[in-house]
Subunit: 193 residues, 4 copies
Amino acid sequence: MKKDKPKYKQIIDAAVVVIAENGYHHAQVSKIAKQAGVADGTIYLYFKNKEDILISLFEEKMGQFVRSIRSRMAGKENAVEQLEVLIESHFYMLSEDYHLAIVTQLELRQSNKDIRLKINEVLKEYLLLVDEILHNGVKKQIFSEELDIRLARQMVFGTIDEVVTTWVINEQKYDITKLAPEIHSLLVKALSK
Amino acid sequence: MKKDKPKYKQIIDAAVVVIAENGYHHAQVSKIAKQAGVADGTIYLYFKNKEDILISLFEEKMGQFVRSIRSRMAGKENAVEQLEVLIESHFYMLSEDYHLAIVTQLELRQSNKDIRLKINEVLKEYLLLVDEILHNGVKKQIFSEELDIRLARQMVFGTIDEVVTTWVINEQKYDITKLAPEIHSLLVKALSK
Amino acid sequence: MKKDKPKYKQIIDAAVVVIAENGYHHAQVSKIAKQAGVADGTIYLYFKNKEDILISLFEEKMGQFVRSIRSRMAGKENAVEQLEVLIESHFYMLSEDYHLAIVTQLELRQSNKDIRLKINEVLKEYLLLVDEILHNGVKKQIFSEELDIRLARQMVFGTIDEVVTTWVINEQKYDITKLAPEIHSLLVKALSK
Amino acid sequence: MKKDKPKYKQIIDAAVVVIAENGYHHAQVSKIAKQAGVADGTIYLYFKNKEDILISLFEEKMGQFVRSIRSRMAGKENAVEQLEVLIESHFYMLSEDYHLAIVTQLELRQSNKDIRLKINEVLKEYLLLVDEILHNGVKKQIFSEELDIRLARQMVFGTIDEVVTTWVINEQKYDITKLAPEIHSLLVKALSK
DNA sequence: GATGAATGAGCATTCATTCAT
DNA sequence: AATGAATGAATGCTCATTCAT
């Protein structure tokens, strides 16, 4: 399995750094190869083309992201607590990975439609997680029984994403993890009966 | 003033059509010129460079957007009603301009960081409007007195933006104006005491 | 009409020189542009792509070639004399254009299948000319009435082509036009009753 | 002697198949290795480089070709009969080896000038055979005493080669061996007194 | 003011060859 | 002898911008 070979992850990590530091449009394959400490051609032993690097990057990182949130959520049965963990984890993990935050919030959004469609596929995993929390909350009668899950999910994701993007645009000048309680409180109020 | 000459608007409208129909990355200056019925070189008599077209496009359209919402809000003193008008207007205006919705929600976001920063400058006008509503609501004790205006604004804008983007990605298959009451209700619950 | 603009012919002539001097595989577009005294991008105002340059080169030169032979044949009614003119003209014209001889006999044959198919299309004009001479000779009972035109044409073309290629491979060390009478005599003997 | 080891021939036969099926420009060393059932690196234990495979291929196959014709000619003393055997054998052997015909008539001609020059070296064996027949015919006063052997050889080879190439381009749709008598007859007429 | 022909910088990808195992 | 992962040089084409007319 190619994904388990060390150079696979090595190249993806190099791509994150190069894109974050140079911007999407100046992230040439040769720069990524240099950063990864391999020859240009080696990239193509692990990835079909440049597009494939970006999609794999997102899959790999977003996969970890969702798995990590799920494991942190383990044991929490209450939807309010689950949402708390989701927000805290989301903010915490991006605050711990400076480069990844820039890449996911700003740079990867410049990619063409094909790449973004594939990225959206990957995002669905995250959105499903949000849906699970919302369904749980409604079932346990913590959230409003008339809640439109689809719209509520858009509010939750839209709010979190906007807060993170604003923080990245402001060059991460403040501690985003400190915003979690207030965001959580706002969202819970919106969702509750 | 260049902005008052007919070709200025002619070129901006051409840019909206060309970007919406071809996508950001296939919207060459020569295509925009053709659509506007002018020579390539003529573009540069009205705009410094391609970047300037895009920023001007956003300024022009977002300016109209905010002015239009303000005029619809005239007479409403209640923050809850004002927010209602904001959401309804936002959804209504984009639902009336198919091309503009695609351009602002999907295509222009593919531009590079520099352009997006300038676009954010222009967005501030809209965000100020949101802030005004929120301040008003807090002052009139309709919204929670402990509301963090900055975060609340990010929630309002993030939610509205995500709802619109989802609608555009789904090719505007449903009537977005019908979602306004529910979104309004969710946000008001979040903001209220 | 693009073909009538001076730069069209200028680029084709440059391509002949560059290919003859550097070989097919080292004839980069940038070298052709430099030789033609234009920018790389200018090439693409006149030709769809590199392949198109090569096909156009062959069309242009082979077209002239056939037209030139036809005009030299004007007035000759006798198939034996027509064949004489054909051979003499063929040898003479290539002996006058050192670079073109190299390009048509050696370099262009390295092109890929697509290009060679299109080149073969163009060659058909020449082969039709040979057919006309052969038909004429048979009709006038100068050539054998049982002549298989298709095979005879392959003999005529194969012989002429091999003689020219041998001369080019030997770096044109001898005067090929002096070989015309003997080749003519051999072919006429073969074709005659 | 490397040429006697089984893998030597194995690689050459693989090269014929791969070139015939994929075309010269898509016949990568790795494909040849795969077809031969060896590792890429193994190729380089038997051949200096890719060029060397192609030249060796031609040497090996053309050597067999000439030896085979010579053995079929054994016993024929008459130049006319010898030429008959040459043409028949040439056509017969290529009609029996579908892949080889494609490779020698079409694909190998796309190789660069250096390789083609070396291939021509190998071809000399064949041309010497033609020369022998011609000399024999002249000595025995069957062929014209004034025959220019060099030009006559070019006619014989050029004609045969063109007939075979035309047959291969037409995807071997007809039986080329049936053309031998007519080609023989044309050539004998040309060469005779 | 308006034109549009000309410019030229910039980059993903392939594949023959090597060499540590 | 045999392997196959790794190497890295080499190039066609696009398109924003200019400037002579």
